[in-house]
């Protein structure tokens, strides 16, 4: 019985993935993705669709968040996807030459699988025990589930003690869906697998999307390095084993950005990126500025290439999804009085930003450096990565690299604004820098892979060992 309850969490993960696969079947430009990349994208699309739709239906339509509603929401893309597969036929994957798996790719797969297994083991064994998960995200999920609505009384009435009541509810709604689906009680911690599943997705996105631009050995080394980073996998305040929303946001934002920055983005990329960036808006406060930054960067990239109208169309489609998500968020928040919150929005002003944005540098840079070099956060990675970027600098001249760099800076810029406004900036750095760095990690690690690829290309004696 206990083992069955532990396995219930996998049902939730499969449920979201199935919905995402259904939608992928309807997107001609993405239905022929290789299996791994497709599954990663499917999970993100599934969470975005199921939780985002339930959020909207609950708020605008008053639809109760019960099993019937979530079953209907999840079944729709499965049915549509099945029809699409029948009508369009199986996805015609590009013929790939038979190749043997090189040891480096096999090693990367083994390391990544082992790390993911460790995170899964933690999630099915122990109840939630992290700070933000208990303070905000999972508590909000319990309130929403009990009242079967995102417009819960306990959020809307100011006398109730709720921390960050205006935090977007995509992940709590996904948690509710996962628990309602299996009829599990609130104390069943199998819902933690919902969060852990973002770790393999993170690694699949890192391997799959830059794969067209770098050699397989480079992609494998990048994924292996990412899998070995302690923070994204095992850190209790922000990693996959927690119920923080930073890793999901990193995946939604990073994958959405990469889709829009593809060499020739099409309609399917626009739709998928739009869904992911909309999910980013509904995941965390930072999601809105990050989604807007991704759209702006993609628009800029499209403007600078020939065939502007064709290149800007996917950005326009994505912008529509983001706009709808922002409308939902603003409408939902309008009914919730903010309290027990830092309220950075109310502190924001040009006078508050300047000159504090510069004056706080000497205080905060050493603290940021500490967070990045602490072994139990990132091991030696951020000490080595700048050297790799320098040594492989020619790789940073690849198409799209400048936009990726800007995309990586966006979360860090949001962080810096928060630190400038914060009343206790040093404490805020300690609590949040790594989480903002995690949000930036997909574009950052993609840039890293570009530089590493150039570096490896120039080391002929190593190439012979790695690729006999």
């Amino acid at each position: 019985m206990a083992a069955a309850e532990k396995l219930a969490g996998f049902v939730g993960v499969l449920f979201f993935a199935a919905a995402g696969i259904g939608w992928l079947e309807t997107l001609p430009g993405l239905r022929s993705l290789p299996l791994g990349r497709g599954l990663g994208l499917a999970y993100l699309l599934g969470v975005a669709w199921v939780a985002g739709s339930l959020y909207a239906l609950s708020h605008f339509g008053g639809v109760p968040l019960h099993r019937s509603a979530l079953s209907a929401v999840a079944a729709l893309p499965v049915v549509v996807g099945f029809v699409a597969r029948v009508v369009l036929g199986s996805a015609a994957r590009r013929p790939r030459p038979r190749r043997r798996r090189r040891w480096l790719e096999a090693a990367a797969f083994v390391v990544a699988a082992a790390v993911c297994l460790g995170a899964v083991a933690e999630a099915v064994t122990n109840p939630l025990h992290d700070w933000d998960g208990r303070m905000t995200w999972a508590t909000q999920a319990r309130y929403v589930r009990a009242e079967a609505t995102v417009d819960a009384r306990v959020l809307a009435e100011p006398q109730w003690y709720v921390t960050h009541p205006q935090y977007p509810l995509l992940l709590p709604v996904a948690q509710v869906a996962a628990l309602e689906l299996t009829g599990a009680g609130d104390d069943v911690h199998a819902f933690r697998l919902l969060y852990v599943a973002f770790l393999p997705v993170f690694l699949l996105v890192l391997y799959g999307f830059p794969r067209r631009r770098v050699k397989r050995r480079t992609a494998a080394l990048t994924v292996m390095a990412a899998a070995l980073l302690p923070y994204p996998a095992f850190f209790p305040t922000g990693g996959a084993v927690s119920a923080y929303s930073d890793l999901p946001l990193a995946c939604f934002y990073g994958a959405g950005l990469l889709l829009l920055l593809r060499v020739r983005p099409g309609f399917s990329d626009g739709v998928a990126a739009g869904a992911l960036l909309a999910a980013a808006v509904l995941s965390k406060n930072e999601g809105t500025p990050l989604a807007l930054a991704a759209l702006a960067l993609a628009a800029l990239a499209g403007l600078r290439r020939p065939g502007r109208l064709r290149r800007l169309a996917p950005v326009g489609i994505a912008a529509l999804f983001v706009a709808l998500a922002i409308v939902l968020l603003v409408s939902w928040r309008a009914g919730i009085p903010n309290r027990y919150d830092e309220a950075y929005g109310s502190l924001f002003s040009l006078a508050a930003l300047w000159p504090a944005a510069v004056n706080r540098l000497p205080l905060l840079l050493p603290k940021i450096r500490y967070e990045m070099i602490a072994l139990d956060h990132w091991n030696l990675f951020w000490s080595v990565a700048p050297l790799v970027l320098l040594a492989g600098w020619r790789g940073l001249g690849r198409r799209g690299a400048a936009y990726l760099a800007a995309g990586a800076l966006a979360p860090l810029a949001v962080a810096w604004i928060a630190y400038t406004l914060s009343l206790d900036a040093a404490q805020t750095v300690r609590m949040s820098w790594n989480r903002f760095l995690l949000q930036a990690s997909i574009p950052l690690l993609t840039l890293f892979s570009f530089a590493l690829d150039d570096l490896l290309r120039r080391v002929r004696w190593l190439r012979r060992k790695v690729e006999p």
Binding site: M1, A3, Y161, L380, F381, S383
Partner: protein, 152 residues
Amino acid sequence: MLSFAGFVFRALTLGLFVLFFLAALPQAAVHVAERTGEAIRQWNEPPAAARRRVLGEPCAAAIERIRRAVPRDGEYLLVDGAPPWEGGTYWVRFELAPRRARFLGPWSELASRRRRPPDGSLVVIAFGDGVPPLMMDRESFLRELDKVHGGC
């Protein structure tokens, strides 16, 4: 000369990258082994038993008593009996959710105020992680406050 310097720099960088793997692999192996071992040992542990193991028996028992006393759609008054950085009210509120909490404030501030707390049937005083919360009815809580105020 520059070409040689570039070669040395690239070789050094790759060497440090390998060093990162040599340092990170054992660290990750320890994480994975600890968690996988615990999952195997606890594979048949029900969620309730896992909560008792993680919270501690006294804390889990106290939470259960409060859950029985306050219905799921009910409400309670919450007091912070520990320093705010311990987050005691967050953990208790999470364990008691979806019961609605009305926060009265830190005990230290209540003890210095003369204003009587609002009506409510039960008061829960939260402490740090792992310390059992206290539950008392409003009258008992007011008597405790009066003791601190010197009975005035």
